[in-house]
Symmetry: C2
């Protein structure tokens, strides 16, 4: 198993490679990819060794080939099915943002407690009543959930998600969640991030 940091960087490398492909760049040297990713060329080479990839001394990396090799490591055999719970401003923004980007991450359902949203297609994805959570998750085979909920509702929803079979949670609710070891949890509180940046912005004065 690859470490979290390496997974993060591989994800970034692939994305950078894909943008080069769009610009019809077919070869890249490690120092070029390193410069784009803001890491050292040695770091690039070490990370790519973990997926058994190395470039040729004369030509560097084949861009399309390397992007595919990274995808083989990062993506499952089938696309991961994703649910977004909480379709307020942030939920809607995330759905439209992600839908454009990655074909192997499919947002297949969204949930809300506002009955005026039930059955509607919002940002290209159907919105269900939150009390249908377990039913839809099992039906669709959803394994990953993004939470953009008020903090007082987040833990109860996380418990229900885990029971229904979700094994990965990306949490934007501003509260730490308790999950079992079976679930991989990433907390991304927006305000905490901004407080941190504001603190160090001031310290640098």
């Amino acid at each position: 198993m690859i470490s979290e940091k390496i997974v993060e960087r591989l994800s970034l490398y692939r994305w950078l490679l894909e943008t080069r492909l769009e610009n019809e760049v077919s070869n890249l040297f490690s120092y070029q990819l390193a410069s784009m990713a803001c890491v050292s060329p040695a770091q690039i080479r070490r990370d790519l060794m973990t997926i058994g990839y190395s470039g040729s001394p004369g030509k560097g990396y084949l861009v399309a080939d390397l992007a595919k090799s990274i995808g083989k490591e990062l993506d499952g055999a089938k696309p991961s099915k994703v649910a977004v719970v909480g379709m307020g401003n942030l939920g809607r923004a995330l759905v439209s943002f992600i839908s454009d980007r990655r074909s192997h991450l499919q947002i297949v359902a969204t949930f809300d407690t506002d009955s005026t949203k039930y059955g509607r297609v919002i940002c290209g994805c159907r919105c269900y009543a939150q009390n249908e959570l377990e039913k839809i998750i099992k039906l669709e085979g959803i394994t990953v959930a993004i939470l953009t909920l008020p903090s007082d509702a987040a833990q109860a929803v996380a418990d229900r998600l885990e029971k229904a079979g979700v094994t990965g949670i990306l949490n934007y609710a501003p509260v730490p969640l308790k999950v079992s070891k079976k679930v991989y949890l990433e907390n991304r509180d927006v305000t905490a991030a901004l407080e941190k940046v504001a603190y160090f912005a001031r310290e640098g004065d």
Copy 2:
């Protein structure tokens, strides 16, 4: 100077304390705060020692007093002024999300390249033309910026922000940015976070 991890946890503790205050809880023991924050009581005590705070053995922590002490460390003498660059879905969501939460983080300006947004008040904050960036940042004394831009525009804007005096950037654009050591940078690419969660969600199978 306190480490990034401690700043993150102090920010979380304060937020948890404030929610307790709303529920009229006046005292908390370290094990109670620890349980809410999903850390150990020893961690809580170590973190609070860095700001010179300790509870009393009989009564634990005074909630209001501790929240204020954390604020004294995290917040500047004056509120930090914040700009949001890029008022698409994500920008709007972040503005409304943050505006409700922290009085010492004031979003005083937003910027976009869409001329139909110029001069409008969006989510409670005035939107300016992106070419007014330098002028408004100096006029308002903005030190922190949140970027929710397309990736091809982000670096040029980051360069301009730094020149205009911004010392902290929270970057939601899906591209690594190059800034000088004077600027504190936090990258929060949404898709990368989701890819990571999806990867480890699968590994746990």
